[in-house]
């Protein structure tokens, strides 16, 4: 009603039926019509009263008692469809239902939000191809016994050595007290036949040479560190044993490092 009145400009006093309440005097629907007849006009003569407001939505309401509250049965819960039944009895159960549904939705919503947030944030971590670069798969069958093979892994040299029985026995028999960085051979290998270490000298980072040195393992030419066949430091300036990376054997013939 209000927007219509605003747009109609000159006609607005005649279209604002609610003005009647404020001013206390009845504004005639048509100029020259008798004061106080507005309700009666529509009862006796149809044309004048209604034609002035034919463009107004639904016509003009005269009394607040004419307002009909619409029937909301389509939206009511079943317990409240009967207007002759008090709403108090079903009140508990309705509230319980609403709060349970709200609570469950909240839990699901929080979990969903957490999942979405985690997915977005973890998308900033390393991608699959980068992660793939972090692993290397090696066919062990190509490495003959007694031989050490070098691979490039994560930018560093990776030594995989197929040890002989003699070497295994020797390394297992070494006394801990003699080692600068005491570690038993069993703790450095998963399968004693294969020693897998990172080929970076723990002294200052040079690459040791395989099958060299006094202990049947590796020798670093930079400052003369000797490592044994288990990659442990025996002689020289290096403080620690060669690093053993994480690896696993998906089957007997393959190892995945990283």
């Amino acid at each position: 009603m209000l927007s219509l009145a605003a747009r109609s400009g000159a006609l607005s006093p005649y279209l604002q039926a609610t003005n009647v309440a404020v001013n206390g005097s009845v504004k005639a629907l048509l100029p020259g019509a008798v004061k106080g007849d507005s309700l009666l006009k529509s009862s006796s003569k149809k044309a004048p009263a209604i034609s002035a407001c034919v463009s107004a939505p639904g016509g003009i309401r005269m009394a607040h008692t004419d307002i009909k509250v619409p029937d909301f049965s389509d939206y009511r819960r079943p317990e409240l469809l009967d207007p002759k039944k008090s709403s108090q009895e079903s009140s508990e159960s309705r509230k319980t239902f609403s709060y349970l549904v709200t609570g469950a939705t909240a839990v699901v919503g929080v979990y969903t939000a957490k999942t979405v947030a985690t997915q977005f944030i973890s998308s900033m971590s390393a991608s699959a191809d980068v992660l793939a670069m972090s692993k290397i798969e090696v066919k062990l069958g190509e490495i003959p016994e007694g031989k050490n093979m070098t691979f490039k892994w994560r930018g560093k040299p990776l030594f995989i050595r197929h040890r002989t029985e003699k070497e295994i026995a020797t390394e297992e028999a070494v006394d801990m007290a003699m080692l600068r960085d005491p570690q038993h051979d069993k703790d450095r290998v998963a399968n004693p036949k294969w020693i897998i270490v990172i080929g970076v000298c723990t002294h200052l980072g040079c690459v040791p040479i395989a099958n060299a040195g006094d202990y049947g393992g590796y020798y670093c030419p930079c400052h003369g560190s000797h490592y044994d066949a288990s990659g442990r430091i025996r002689k020289g300036p290096a403080p620690l044993n060669l690093e053993v990376p994480y690896y696993e054997f998906p089957d007997d013939d393959t190892v995945v490092v990283g």
Binding site: Q16, I67, S86, S87, S91
Partner: protein
């Protein structure tokens, strides 16, 4: 023993200034409670009840209270009771309108009537000695109304005019709309006035049918208060009201079915109005419920306020203090309309368009306080205020007569002031908290708003304010 006090013109020897009771009333509160004469109740053979209180005044109010109202009407005849009230004084079968008016005027009496949702009353205020004439006229008005076609047509325009005029009384509009939305789809949602369409189309037959279905002796009470003796009144009733029917056609006794309360809202927005009238209510207690008294005490805690109050920040009601200090509203009142099986417990306020949000917030805050943290001093103060208002309202024969009529219809007997007093005394803060939580806490309210109500919060916000997360 009552002290005899008298005032002399010579102030220096005036006993009242020297007496120990100086500054006190001559009648204590307890005496005023117990000193009220008992209301006597008898019933005629046809079920019509007669109740009276003999106060010894030289005037009296006598009337007929009938247990029918807009709640008994259907959509098609909504407004019949109100129309009938208009027709009531337009002449009976024995007296024309002129003759009736002349009879009443020559006695110097006032004849009036009111219709509400569950009660209708026709009553007369007159000198005590004119009681017989008054009862005779009342019996004619109720039983043998002329209901002439010409008068009906003429009254149509009067009713329509009254419908237009009531639009100006925004408090009535707001509370009518509150009932319409709270009890939507049920007879309690009908306004007493009825829609304008019915005012134009109700026929004489509709009115006759209405009388036939509802003006029955068991639903009527002849009440009187003033200088009347009960025996005289009973005699007059036997003489004039024995003929009132007590049987229904087809034995169809109208039974009131419960009315469903719907938490809902209705907004009649008009930005041209200067003030917004807003009412928020929850389903309350029925008239005969034991929770009535704690709820009355709770309403007294919230109290009422008008911008003309001078208390300022010293007003006792917290909401009134806030209203005064922050200019939250022009007026507010806590109300409780109770019907035979349900009720509306709410707060009505009038404010300008920039303070609606705050006023609604603090009103609901006051409700939450009632449910959770009401204190001993709040309750003590409210009990006193309630007792004072209950006693103070009955300050004439007409309020007393009205009280008698409504009580007998609602409760079957008159509840004496002493009983109200005892029930009020029995209220404790814990009781107020429990009862208020039962009716208010986390319940869906019904809201009605008229005027520039843009600032009124969304219904979901108001619903959320009906509980506190801190509990």
């Amino acid at each position: 023993a009552r002290d005899q006090t008298w005032v002399c013109s010579d102030a220096s020897s005036s006993p009242i200034l020297l007496s120990l009771r100086r500054g006190q009333a001559t009648v204590t509160y307890a005496q005023s409670l117990l000193g009220a004469p008992e209301t006597r109740l008898t019933a005629l053979d046809n079920g019509l009840r007669i109740a009276s209180e003999e106060t010894g005044h030289s005037t009296c109010t006598v009337g007929l209270w009938i247990g029918c109202g807009s709640r008994y009407e259907t959509e098609k005849n909504n407004g019949a009771g109100f129309f009938l009230e208009h027709m009531a004084f337009k002449g009976t079968k024995k007296h024309t309108q002129m003759a009736l008016e002349q009879q009443v005027e020559s006695m110097g009496a006032h004849l009036s009537a009111y219709t509400s949702r569950e009660h209708t009353a026709y009553y007369m205020k007159t000198l005590a000695k004119d009681l017989p004439k008054a009862v005779e006229l009342l019996s004619e008005v109720v039983q043998s109304n002329a209901l002439s076609e010409a008068d009906i047509e003429q009254q149509r325009s009067v009713v329509l005019r009254e419908l237009e005029e009531v639009e100006g009384s925004l408090q009535d509009v707001c509370l009518d709309l509150l009932h319409a939305t709270a009890f939507q789809g049920t007879p309690l949602g009908h306004s007493v006035l009825g829609p304008s369409q019915n005012a134009r189309t109700l026929s004489r037959q509709d009115l006759v049918d209405f009388i036939k279905s509802h003006y029955k002796a068991p639903r009527m009470v002849l009440a009187a208060a003033g200088g009347v003796t009960h025996e005289e009144l009973v005699g007059l009733a036997k003489q004039h009201f024995s003929g009132v029917s007590f049987e229904y056609e087809d034995d169809a006794v109208p039974v009131l079915s419960p009315c469903r309360f719907s938490g809902s809202e209705i907004r009649m927005r008009d930005d041209d109005m200067p003030l917004a009238h807003i009412a928020i209510a929850v389903e309350g207690a029925s008239a005969a419920s034991p929770d009535i008294v704690p709820l009355m005490v709770a309403n007294s805690i919230i109290g009422s306020y008008d911008i003309t109050f001078g208390g300022g920040k010293h007003l006792s009601s917290r909401l009134a203090r806030l209203a005064s200090e922050e200019s939250l509203c022009h007026s507010f009142q806590a109300f409780h309309s109770s019907y035979s099986d349900t009720g509306l417990l709410g707060i009505y306020f009038v404010t300008d368009k920039h303070h609606i949000d705050d006023m609604m917030h603090w009103s609901q805050n006051a409700w939450m306080n009632l449910c959770t943290t009401v204190t001993e001093s709040d309750v003590a103060r409210a009990k006193n205020a309630l007792k004072a208002s209950l006693v103070g309202q009955l300050d004439g024969t007409t309020p007393k007569c009205d009280d008698i009529g409504r009580h007998v219809l609602n409760y079957g007997r008159r509840i004496p002031l002493a009983e109200w007093d005892a029930r009020i005394d029995a209220v404790t803060p814990r009781m107020v908290r429990d009862v208020c939580s039962k009716y208010i806490y986390d319940k869906c309210p019904a809201v009605s708003a008229v005027g520039p109500v843009e600032q009124l919060p969304d219904y979901n916000r108001m619903r959320s304010a009906m509980y506190w997360l801190r509990f």
